[in-house]
């Protein structure tokens, strides 16, 4: 056994605290260590060449590198060993930067002592290192995209245009998502539907994209390259092949329900298409409100349908498919402002949310583009827009900035002026966050050309007086109290995670961040990846995103899927559990505790011919978390690369 130890200065990150030269000298006398060297930067080319030449010169068979965390450069040094023809797992890293020099800069002497201990432990571990090899896994070259908003549609298109099959799953009856609800888009004032619908149609016509609307992902198992996904296609009660989308059914249906698409500002029928440009252009029956399903009466839609497409007996279809990658594009919900007592508990009729305002100003919306008050239908002449409702508010548990509200509020005020030229618009804000291409200029335009009054101060109370609303605020720039009467108040409600994000995360076995958005693998260097390989993020499920950002993320997530599909095969992680079947008692504690469902039971024949049950690890599913190792009462499960004997040796070396 010939061990080489290589100690890194990391500039002065390590050597500024730890006496590296002395350390290299003392370690070189350690039993088993053939050579011990230090270098300014071990990860640099000269540093790696130093390792390579030392391995050749001293005929080393395993090495210890004392440097930064293995998260950063373990792969660098493994590759270095591979170049030399050694097994890359004959390597141990002693983390003497994050776990020593950075945290003990106040006591260099003890830090040097600790660094020595850490290296000694690494040497003890490397003594028991075994050669490990990766196995090859095939890839299912089909992508699943969850969520049919603009992020999901773009991701699906990008993957499909590269020549791979995509399944796009959408929960509502139509794809389009939030963007379909919007009127104009900032800062260019493009009509939102006009730029979105061509993409929806393109996705629908694409021969490699399968769109499953009114469907939900129910179960996900498996791993990168072959996820096994169960999708429930809820029954539309309308046969998709027969329906021509004529709309006769929804014009005759007698039941009226609040429209989700118009945010409760209009009524839809029990059989409905959410909006005229819906893709697919096929209605669904909302069984919870349909008179046929509630009372077994009515049946008007079936009678009037000219193509006999209504099928009341249709059942949910369960689809089980395999996918190589999953892109999450589940989008966002909006903050429920009834939590604010001072803003009327959501009970003041003329206090509406920003998304309701989008529907109001939309020419195909419930009012045909007239900005009228919900209470009496009078045109709104004086409107207050209030930003940061349910964002930047620790009291409401939403400390983060919702990011898009400053811009859409400026747009809302501009649209008011465009629709009602003699109207007055007031925006109550705390800070204006307009960091984006042409965003700041847009806000200036709203202030200078449209003369929208910006008042810097959060509103403290909204209450009714007669027909109108009184807004009590404060202009913090002039120190003036403000109590003004308005026809209409629009609350810029913050973007929040999907309300079912917790159960969704459990189903996919992924983590959420502190605000319950879907957390990314690395905030800077892997913003569209999850810690589960093969799962990618797109759009506002990760954090409030505007349209250009969502589209950019969609492309980035698609590329991650494509680079996966471009590989011939995947290599599995070799540092996984293995069962010593000769001492396994078959208690199967490990099977029950495994978070990845990677352990199953297996029948084996003993030497004396008896058949008994033992645990068996599925090598492709196991992620090497080590939970089973800790749970095994007979210590027969071991984690390759971090075995029990290695850990015990490391402790003994202390």
């Amino acid at each position: 056994m010939r061990i080489g130890v290589f100690i890194c200065h990391c500039g002065t990150n390590i050597s500024g605290v730890v006496d590296v030269v002395k350390l290299a000298e003392s370690i070189s006398h350690y039993p088993g260590v053939v050579i011990s060297k230090e270098n300014k930067y071990m990860c640099s080319d000269p540093g790696q060449n130093l390792i390579k030449s030392a391995v050749k010169e001293y005929n080393l068979d395993r090495i210890v590198v004392a440097s930064c965390t293995p998260k950063l450069h373990e792969n660098t040094f493994r590759a270095c060993l591979e170049d030399l023809g050694l097994n890359p797992y004959m390597l141990e890293i002693a983390n003497i930067r994050e776990q020593c020099s950075w945290v003990h800069s106040d006591n260099p002497e003890l830090a040097t002592k600790k660094a020595e201990d850490l290296i000694k432990m690494a040497i003890a571990r490397v003594r028991f290192a075994k050669e490990l090899t990766c196995s090859k896994v095939t890839i299912e070259r089909r992508a699943l995209v969850i969520g049919g908003g603009v992020a999901g549609i773009q991701s699906a298109l990008d993957i499909a245009n590269a020549g791979y099959h995509v399944t796009l799953v959408e929960r509502t009856p139509s794809i389009g998502g939030r963007m379909a609800q919007l009127d104009k888009t900032f800062p260019t004032l493009d009509c939102s539907a006009c730029i979105l619908t061509p993409k929806m149609v393109e996705a629908n016509r694409h021969h490699l994209i399968k769109i499953l609307t009114y469907s939900e992902v129910e179960e996900v198992s498996g791993f990168v390259g072959s996820f096994e996904v169960t999708i429930r296609m809820k029954s539309r009660s309308v046969e998709m092949k027969k329906c021509t989308g004529c709309g006769m059914c929804q014009s005759k249906c007698p039941v009226k329900v609040d429209s989700e698409f118009d945010e409760g500002l209009s009524k839809r029928r029990a059989i409905y298409m959410p909006f005229p440009q819906a893709v697919p252009n096929i209605p669904v029956i909302d069984r919870a409100n349909c008179r046929y399903f509630l009372e077994k009466k009515c049946g008007v839609c079936k009678k009037v349908c000219p193509s006999d497409a209504i099928d009341y007996d249709q059942e949910d279809t369960i689809l089980k498919e395999k996918f190589g990658s999953i892109t999450i594009a589940t989008g966002f919900d909006l903050f429920d402002h009834s939590a604010y007592g001072e803003y009327g508990y959501g009970k003041l009729k003329n206090v509406i949310t920003s998304i309701q305002y989008e529907r109001l100003v939309n020419s195909s919306g419930p009012t045909g583009g007239h900005i009228i008050r919900p209470s009496d239908g009078k045109e709104a002449k004086k409107v207050a827009f209030i930003s940061c409702v349910g964002s930047r508010d620790n009291k409401m548990g939403k400390p983060y900035c919702s990011k898009v509200c400053c811009m859409y509020t400026a747009k809302h005020a501009l649209l008011l002026k465009e629709h009602v030229p003699d109207a007055e618009a007031y925006i109550f804000y705390i800070d204006i966050r307009a960091a984006g291409k042409n965003y700041e200029e847009f806000v200036y335009r709203v202030q200078e050309n449209y003369r929208v009054k910006y008042i810097r101060g959060r509103v403290s109370k909204i209450f009714e007086e007669g027909d109108n609303l009184i807004v009590r605020g404060f202009d913090t720039l002039s120190g003036e109290s403000i109590e003004m009467e308005f026809d209409l108040v629009v609350l810029a409600v913050g973007v929040i995670p999907r309300k079912d994000s917790d159960s969704f995360a459990r189903m996919l076995n992924i983590s959420l961040d502190a605000n319950h958005f879907v957390g990314e693998l690395h905030p800077k260097l892997a913003p569209v990846e999850k810690n589960t390989p093969g799962i990618f993020l797109s759009g506002s499920c990760q954090y409030p995103r505007d349209i250009p950002e969502s589209v950019a993320m969609a492309g980035a997530a698609a590329v991650k899927s494509l680079s996966l599909f471009a590989k011939e095969f995947l290599t599995s992680e070799p540092m996984i559990s293995e069962v010593n079947t000769s001492i396994c008692t078959g208690c199967l504690n490990c099977k029950n505790i495994c978070p990845y469902r990677a352990i199953n039971e297996e029948e084996i024949k003993d030497l004396d011919g008896k058949i008994r049950i033992v645990a068996k690890v599925n090598e492709t599913i196991c992620r090497g978390c080590g939970t089973c190792v800790a749970s095994c009462p007979s210590q027969c499960i071991n984690l390759k690369g971090v075995s029990n004997e290695q850990i015990l040796a490391a402790i003994e070396a202390l």
Binding site: E342, M396, G457, T476
Partner: protein, 184 residues
């Protein structure tokens, strides 16, 4: 003009007394917007917070914010940064009283006089004695004939003589406990 940097002695003093970190305040103005007495103040609550952040000690202690404050707690209740604004205001009042700093604005000059007499009255008698309170206030504020027409009413209700002193120990204990960060 701020020239030599900004220290944080006042903020640290408040943090020591109340454990409130005033640097969480981003001056959104919701406290001032909801304050029913802000029209009386030369420095509305959000601006007092700013003065503390900038360590403008004299300006903060000589403001009349804490003499105009009615302690309705609306500011603390609605603060999106969950800062107990009322407690900060009260603490600044305590410091101003301890350091005998006078308001630079004359409009509320009687309030501290009343505050002192009222508190002494409670500490000394356990009850508030309206006659002593009024008489003392009139003397100290040099408004000798203020509310003089109420004397017969007080006489009728037998409020002119001081009540028998009850045990004032408990009251003293409460007041001592409140001292320092509650504006006493």
């Amino acid at each position: 003009m701020i020239r030599n940097g900004i220290s944080q002695t006042l903020a640290l003093e408040i943090e020591k007394r109340t454990k409130i970190n005033v640097f969480g305040c981003y001056q959104c103005g919701k406290c001032s917007a909801g304050c029913v007495f802000s029209y009386l103040m030369d420095t509305p609550p959000h601006l007092l917070m700013r003065l503390i952040q900038l360590d403008m000690r004299e300006k903060a202690l000589s403001s009349n914010t804490f003499w105009g404050c009615g302690a309705c707690v609306t500011c603390s209740f609605r603060c999106p940064r969950e800062i107990d604004v009322l407690r900060v205001i009260n603490t600044v009042r305590s410091i101003a009283i301890e350091e005998r700093v006078l308001s630079r604005n004359n409009s509320l000059k009687d309030v501290p006089i009343f505050n002192e007499i009222f508190m002494n009255n409670i500490i000394g008698n356990e009850h508030v004695n309206e006659f002593l309170l009024g008489a003392n206030f009139n003397l100290k504020s040099l408004k000798f004939f203020k509310d003089i027409s109420l004397l017969p009413v007080l006489y009728k209700k037998d409020k002119l003589t001081a009540r028998k002193k009850a045990s004032t120990r408990n009251i003293k204990k409460i007041v001592e406990g409140l001292k320092g960060n509650n504006g006493i």
